[in-house]
């Protein structure tokens, strides 16, 4: 590669173009969709699939089980953000669960430090996580509004997401022998955590959900809305066999919150 200035140029432009386009897409998403939206009727979901027979049937069935949907921003953090929002929201009405979860959350920091996470960076995320969690313990009538506002303020919301990512990573590393079987390729669990769990905006898969729901002992039911054969959006419960506390809707690479009837 020596003399062709034109080639240099095209090489450069390619990188620039890809990244510029990526930033534009991110910006579009940021400006148009709230981190966590308002509660909507499930009929808004039906309206999205009027001309698609497979999805239409599944959404119809979904509407017999769920009354509302709350959308989250599709930024790769949606599972973690939806999980935290839905669970904190449920704690507003269940004070005894709030108290026991508060203790689990306090203890979780010690557990992560004992697993080798640096206390130093962990602390900020844990502190902010606890601060937002504390809102779910408030008795005031506007506690829900406050929670909603916190989840739509990146200064709080993303700190909560990071902390949940670290908790999932901690769980995976603690039970590495078990989770190793679910990792594709020849990555170790630690490598997988560093590449797919801890970085922000990295999308979540089954393994993230199993790890987080196990770490916090919170049952999650995920409804899968996809092109698979069947006339309903199939449910998967995590950890397997538990009673779900929160319900999420999965559509290829995205999670929203569902509210049962």
């Amino acid at each position: 590669m020596g003399d062709s200035g034109g080639e240099f140029e095209s090489g450069k432009n390619q990188d620039d173009l890809i990244m510029q386009r990526q930033r534009e897409i991110e910006k579009e998403i940021n400006e148009s969709i709230m981190l966590v939206g308002d509660k909507e009727s499930l009929s808004t979901l039906e309206a999205e699939y009027l001309s698609d027979e497979i999805y239409k049937l599944k959404v119809k069935d979904l509407a017999t089980k769920y009354k509302n949907i709350r959308r989250t921003r599709p930024d790769g953090n949606c599972f973690f953000r939806a999980f935290a929002y839905a669970y904190f929201e449920s704690l507003l009405d269940h004070k005894e669960d709030y108290n026991s979860f508060y203790n689990i959350a306090v203890e979780s920091k010690k557990k992560l430090i004992s697993l080798g996470f640096p206390q130093f960076t962990l602390e900020d995320f844990h502190d902010t996580f606890m601060e937002v969690l504390a809102i779910a313990g408030k008795e005031e009538p506007n506690a829900h509004d406050e929670l909603h506002a916190a989840f739509n303020n990146q200064g709080y919301s993303n700190y909560v997401v990071v902390y949940l990512r670290l908790l999932a990573s901690g769980q995976l590393q603690q039970d590495a022998d078990f989770y190793q079987h679910f990792i594709e390729g020849d990555r170790t669990i630690t490598e997988f955590c560093h590449q797919e769990v801890e970085p922000m905006f990295r999308e979540s898969d089954h393994i993230h959900i199993i790890a987080l729901s196990t770490a916090l002992n919170v049952g999650v039911r995920v409804r899968y809305l996809d092109r698979g054969e069947s006339t309903e959006a199939i449910a998967h419960d995590f950890p397997e066999g538990t009673q779900p506390t929160i319900h999420l809707l999965y559509r290829p690479s995205h999670y929203d919150i569902l509210y049962p009837i």
Partner: protein, 180 residues
Amino acid sequence: MPTYLTIYLLPTLAEPLFHCSTKLYVNQLRVLLTKRLQKELLSLIKDPPPGVLVDSEKAEQNLSIWTIYMKGADETLFAGEEFQLQFKFSPKYPFDSPEVTFIGPNIPVHPHVYSNGHICLSILTEDWSPALSVQSVCLSIISMLSSCKEKKRPSDNAFYVKTCSKNPKKTKWWYHDDTV
């Protein structure tokens, strides 16, 4: 608590704690960012990795650009050499990775370091996590230098240095070879 500081500065807001005004939102992030950088600086001054020294005076003057001196580890190809690193922090740090480059007269001759100081290291771009820190980046760079078996520039050095953006984070890196 420092995160509440902004609320006292803006007493006229209708919903004081979590009002989503841009002003408060920016303040909240700035407060957390400043707190985090001060904490990192203090820790790096007090408890630096071996061979690492931060120019604390400069960093205290401008928290968003640090100069860090690094010595090549003993019994490695870089033993006895001294390097300078520059860390730049965007307002989105720690969600955005720091921009890290070698600067100064001695740029290590290493298969992942370009002659303009840019470093090809996955944690500096796509594998960055907000739980990492200046300290962990320094340790990764020390380890990258220490495991070097042959002092040479990346094979595409001439091409890259001519065409790259000033900011290494604008490069779409291919992390194809972890063995060197």
